[in-house]
């Protein structure tokens, strides 16, 4: 589809991804300029979700590369299926010449395609999600940004493989490690901040349809109060807000009460320190703050 900012905005809304221009414009620019989109922000603000939404919007495959410490080219790009190669050698050692066997076992049938090669070889432009890039080593990052420049790889036995269509690339980072300037320069940058109360109400209403408006407002107000007034180790993110909202909806709650907050507090507070910190504030106080939104 031909991309315009307005179409993209409508498509995101259709996929229940509630956001403003601060997310739409960088995404639109990345698509138009054919550059990777580098998304950073607190865990749980919806970074990975953008890639999923894009794959739905463009009705294309989502290929995901989950990064971790020690990830290398073999796991990310391709490797030879050497077990299959060895079996083939054993089977053919009596009826084929050495050259024929070699030619045979270094063909595409024996190649294990990993996410990056898959993304390059797809006929239809896929969405390539490189999740938590900050968890990889710097060497892998250097390899990656070379790949992201040309979208081609050289496999010595097969030659150069070039992307038919440049994938839509989304990288996410939790900023555990600073990324290299080289990689950052190649990307369109998007920082997703925690949403405003109004935006969060809209998100709750969209993602948890069976929840009442009053309760949505109270939840958003309570979460916002926690984020700004309590010095928490792990700020409740959108995903925690939604978990809490779903739980409250499941309990048929129509408004927040100190007791309800106390019983469900572990859904939005995830460390012991934060729970202790919350005890000092008290469920009653949070309930009062949340009810102010009425």
């Amino acid at each position: 589809m031909e991309i315009t900012k307005e179409k993209l905005e409508a498509a995101f809304k259709e996929e229940d991804y509630i956001c403003g221009e601060e997310i739409i414009i960088p995404t639109y620019l990345a698509l138009n300029l054919e550059k990777p989109l580098l998304i950073t922000g607190e865990p749980g603000v919806g970074k990975t979700e953008i890639a999923k939404v894009l794959s739905k919007v463009f009705d294309t495959e989502l290929i995901r590369l989950q990064c971790y410490e020690g990830l290398d080219e073999n796991k990310a790009l391709y490797e030879w299926n050497y077990q299959k190669q060895l079996i083939s050698i054993q089977i053919n050692k009596d009826n084929k010449s050495e050259d024929m066997i070699e030619e045979n076992i270094f063909s595409e049938d024996y190649l294990l395609q990993r996410p990056l090669l898959k993304a390059i070889k797809r006929g239809k432009r896929p969405v390539l999600l490189i999740d938590e890039i900050d968890k990889t080593d710097e060497e892998f990052e250097a390899f990656l940004f070379e790949l992201l420049s040309d979208f081609q790889v050289s496999i010595p036995e097969l030659g150069t493989v070039k992307a038919n269509k440049r994938p839509i690339v989304v990288l996410t980072s939790n900023a555990n490690r600073e990324l290299s300037d080289g990689l950052k320069r190649r990307c369109v940058f998007l920082y997703i901040d925690l949403p405003s109360v109004e935006k969060e109400v809209e998100i709750i209403r969209t993602k948890v349809p069976n929840i009442g408006e009053e309760l949505s407002k109270q939840i958003a107000a309570a979460i916002s109060y926690l984020r700004t007034n309590l010095e928490l180790k792990k700020l409740p993110s959108i995903s925690e807000t939604l978990d809490w909202a779903r739980a409250l909806a499941g309990l048929d709650a129509d408004r927040l009460s100190p007791e309800l907050i106390h019983r469900t507090r572990t859904l939005f507070l995830k460390t012991k320190d934060d729970l202790d910190n919350f005890e000092e504030l008290g469920a009653k106080k949070l309930s009062q703050e949340a009810l102010k939104s009425d």
């Binding site: 300029l33 020690g70 060895l86 940058f189």
Partner: protein, 491 residues
Amino acid sequence: MCNLEDDGYVQVDEEFEEAQKLLTSSLDEGLPDYVENNIVKFIQILRNLGIRISLAESIEALEALKLVDIIKKEEVRTTLCSLLVKDSYEKKIFDKAFDSFFVSLEDKVYQQRIRKEKMMQQEEAKKEAEELKFKKESVVDEDKDEEVPLSFTEDQKEIYSKLDPEIKEKIKKFIEESFPGHLSHSSHAQPMLERMVSGTLNYWKNQLRNQDEGDEQKQKIEAKMTGDLDMDVVIENVISSLQQEEESLITQDMKRISDEELPKVTMIIKKLSHRLATKISRRFQQSKKTGKLDLRRTIRKNIKYGGAMLELEYKTKKIKKPEFLLICDVSDSMARYATFVLQFMYGIASAVRNMESFIFSEDLERVTEFFTSNLSFEETMAKIISQSKQWGKTTNFNQTLKTFHSQYVDLLSPETVVFIMSDTKTIELDEAVMNLRRIKRQVKEIVWLNTLPKSEWPELNSVQEFKGIANMLECYTIKHLKNSLKIQTLT
């Protein structure tokens, strides 16, 4: 031609004109000139505020503006931000610069007027230094003296203008009395006097720096002015705005952090050390790197396949966690820094095995046990300060190292990374250097976190000596502290 650096970035000083030419030529005629010029100026402001932006990125940002509605300010903001900014800290600077630069004409004129007035006041103040004159025999009339103004740098003139009237009088008197009578006829007299007064002014520069003179002096944001009134107004606005926020806390000298700001700083340090600790622990728990092929185990495993090597076994290299040893100067001038460094280390200690902590001033004291007990940081510090004999004394690094050698040398291993936090100022320097060399031979690395600004390093012999042994890093702000601990040995 502009001068491209190795990393593809252009020296800020030289590129403005070139960048402007390139950018202008890259645009369609449809875009009015003033937009291009404003964007180029804005990019230059961001660079001067420390954001690295290459020419290619600038051109791309301008190209991208053609894809959005440039009449809508927020669209322009988001577009430029997504192409010029690379992390959340830069985004804060960007937003402030954007809000300050893209303002109405009336606001711009007003801002410029204020800046002009301030500059004029500064110039007037600098003129005061012209009163520093040297009397020497007149070339025309030998019986008469003539007054020759002494030559100083702009920086020195500014320092002079900030001095108290009594100090100014003292300097003038010193000039008058230094070369009386025939001594003033010597051709060496004037340059010698200029050097002496420069030395005095440099001394006062440091003194002024050490005095708490309010936010303007406290702030250490790396920014430089352009000389263009329009741009400098914005740079100044951004700096002063950052001073009022949390960011200023991480970029200001730690010893200037006031008691009221302590809880906020404590929270920042907790967050930073927690993040670093998570990272360290993840790295050492999850490494999946394999080593060499283990033939013995591979053959044994593949007997069932008739010897075909279908399943490979690798010799895995056991990665040892590094051992950290912190030696922290808590002498009078260093005690404030020590509080923050210990706090940082306290946070990291949760993820690091065998972390040893020492404090020193006249001698060494081991404080590891305080950190391993289950007390809060505040309680731990209160306990250390009340029980320590070293807090707030003078510095003897040599005695410290001697004690270390005699009592704790067994703690060292080739995996140990030693962190020393000190301003390097100590008595018995030569012996201390020798003793530190001995330690260096037994450990993986020594990292010296120096609380003196880099600009002062060349003046100090102790810095030069210790720099040859340890990896010395500037560390007087929380940002420095955070960056120092990002080094390869740790992460």
